[in-house]
């Protein structure tokens, strides 16, 4: 499975990773090699196999609808790169 640096740019955009041209070239080569190595997976017949997304047979886990203590706002904000008394501050989002 060959990947072009252009494919890598698209995947990078989806992953919110801005990549340099050199990174795009390297990743195109490395991801291509990795996917090629994984090609033999496609030969395996999985027609009758149900997908396993989780190792335990858990469905919904419920608890009583009771409020429990939560973390104070100032502690939640303490690790933010930029914040005021009540908000996380981010750069401009809309024009």
């Amino acid at each position: 499975m060959a990947l072009t640096p252009e494919d890598v740019r698209t995947i990078g955009w989806l992953a919110r990773l801005k990549l340099t041209e050199e990174e795009r070239r390297n990743l195109a080569r490395q991801l291509g090699q990795i996917l090629e190595h994984f090609e033999h997976l496609q030969q395996l017949d999985t027609e009758s196999a149900v997908p396993t997304s989780h190792p335990l047979p858990l469905t919904n886990v419920f608890r009583e609808d009771v409020a429990l203590p939560s973390v104070p706002q100032e502690e939640v904000l303490a690790n933010a790169p930029e914040h005021d008394d009540r908000n996380f501050i981010v750069p401009r989002i809309v024009e």
Binding site: L19, L56, V76
Partner: protein, 481 residues
């Protein structure tokens, strides 16, 4: 013998008989650390004052591990103590809560020595992917300690802690335990709460102990096992006293030896050591027989689609808004800030896996890669189910090779991935497995034996491991530093 060389159960006995004081023990470990840490570099953050304080308070606890110094991997949230996951993107992150396992260790009064080095976000097999510095293997400082819990394994092997916590997504407890000549156990998925463990691949991650012998492993597993309302994937099942399983006789135990694992690029000396281990297990009363896990050869690609897919989703939260690094080099525009922060904050392997996972989940490729991998995961799990109808446990090498040289595999991601080829199937199936020392190669490097068991049957693993350990002395050797 110095105190730092002993096991937790030996030290616990000495403390209870009042032959030593927990404070002396913590000082012994801290002195050892002072003497060797500049060569081993097992830790990212040291907490000696906290360790001393906890040692002083240890007489208040009834736990058999009270006062025994512990090393904690740096992807466990520790309230008020830096938790970086060895990533630049979390270089300044100070959690506001403790992981459940950390809370339990605090309640039992295990002095915290510090937070250990790891591959960034637990992605790697050598600890060389740390965003800060590599760790050395105490048996040969030019070699890797394995990974991703390489810092914890090296700390325990070097006497810089008596016990350690690691996390295991594809082998990250067992492979470094094998490389460093110590015991490492990945419990059944759901046996131990993951609350407060920084997520890598949520359907595969599990916390477990790294210790000097099997008895210590059972004691530490007792401490951390059980349901937690803060982790809805933790299993609400009774937890046995795992030390009750430590019986030197293996009479009646049936052990399968899957042929596939010995073909996966396994070194000759590793194969010989596993052959010798089979004889030891038989001499203890076990019946060993060759068996087959036909789909295990597909485990590596299956894992390297599922784990990166889950990681690409879990790591979306690092965006420079709520915590951690924010790039000062971005335009004053939010999308550019996200993308620049993530480019500068993540290391090469993490980016590679985010990209691989994003690709496997993207429109047009989801069915061919991600969904295909989930179906193959079912086939692998079924192989184990069938094998466990006949056998109580399965054995194989923990890793195909012993510890490799620092730098040897950093340019070749695929070669690095192959180091986990024997451990990965276990995470996909969600079953428990332990690595114990079972020999040394001609270079003097430790070899690990992996024992795999049925879901929630850690007791049988520990029994088999203990039966082996009681007839060998590999676990008694310590590296010269």
């Amino acid at each position: 013998m110095e105190l730092f060389e002993l096991t937790a159960h030996e030290l616990g006995d000495l403390i209870r008989k009042r032959q030593i004081d927990a404070r002396e023990l913590t000082e012994s470990v801290l002195e050892r650390l002072e003497a060797v840490e500049d060569r081993v570099r097992a830790y990212l953050t040291l907490t000696p004052e906290l360790a001393r304080e906890m040692a002083k308070a240890s007489s208040e606890s009834e736990s058999p591990l009270a006062g025994i110094p512990v090393a904690v991997k740096d992807n466990f949230c520790t309230k008020g103590i830096l938790t970086t996951c060895a990533s630049k993107i979390l270089h300044n992150f100070v959690p506001i809560y403790d992981a459940t396992v950390v809370t339990r260790a605090k309640e039992a009064k295990l002095p915290f020595v510090g937070k250990t080095n790891m591959d960034e976000f637990a992605m790697g097999s050598s600890t060389e992917n740390s965003g800060f510095r590599p760790t050395s293997n105490p048996w040969d400082l030019g070699r890797v300690p394995g990974g991703s819990s390489g810092g914890t394994a090296a700390a325990v092997a070097a006497g810089e802690a008596i016990l350690g916590f690691g996390s295991d997504t594809g082998g990250s407890i067992r492979q470094p335990a094998s490389f460093c000549g110590v015991v490492g156990l990945k419990p059944t998925y759901g046996r131990v709460s993951r609350y407060g463990l920084v997520a890598f691949a949520s359907s595969l991650d599990q916390i477990g102990p790294i210790t000097k012998d099997v008895t210590d492993c059972a004691l530490l597993l007792n401490l951390i096992s059980g349901h937690d309302r803060l982790d809805s994937t933790s299993a609400d099942l009774p937890v046995p006293d795992f030390t009750q399983a430590l019986n030197p006789s293996l009479d009646g135990l049936t052990i399968g030896v899957p042929a596939e694992f010995l073909g996966l690029g396994t070194e000759e000396e590793v194969k010989q050591s596993i052959g010798a281990a089979i004889k030891v297990l038989e001499s203890a009363g076990a019946v060993c027989e060759e068996t087959s896990l036909p789909h295990v050869e597909y485990a590596l690609p299956c894992y390297y689609l599922i784990a990166p897919a889950e990681a690409s989703s879990n790591l979306a939260r690092y965006d420079g808004v709520k915590y951690g690094y924010r790039s000062p080099n971005a335009k004053n525009e939010v999308l550019d800030m996200y993308q620049t922060t993530r480019r500068e904050g993540f290391g090469a392997e993490v980016k590679r896996r985010i990209m691989l996972g994003t690709y496997a989940l993207s429109a047009g490729y989801y069915d061919a890669y991600y969904l295909k991998a989930l179906k193959v995961r079912t086939l692998i799990k079924q192989d184990f189910d069938i094998a466990f109808q006949r056998f109580d446990a399965l054995i194989c090498p923990t890793s195909p090779t012993t510890a490799f040289r620092i730098g040897e595999k950093t340019d070749d991601p695929l070669q690095m991935y192959l180091s986990d080829v024997c451990t990965i199937p276990v995470n996909l199936a969600g079953i428990p497995a332990i690595s114990i020392p079972c020999g040394f190669d001609r270079k003097g490097l430790p070899i690990g034996l992996q024992i795999m068991g049925k879901p929630f049957d850690e007791s049988t693993l520990l029994r088999a491991a203990y039966g082996f350990e009681q007839r060998t002395d590999y676990h008694l050797r310590r590296p010269t530093l």
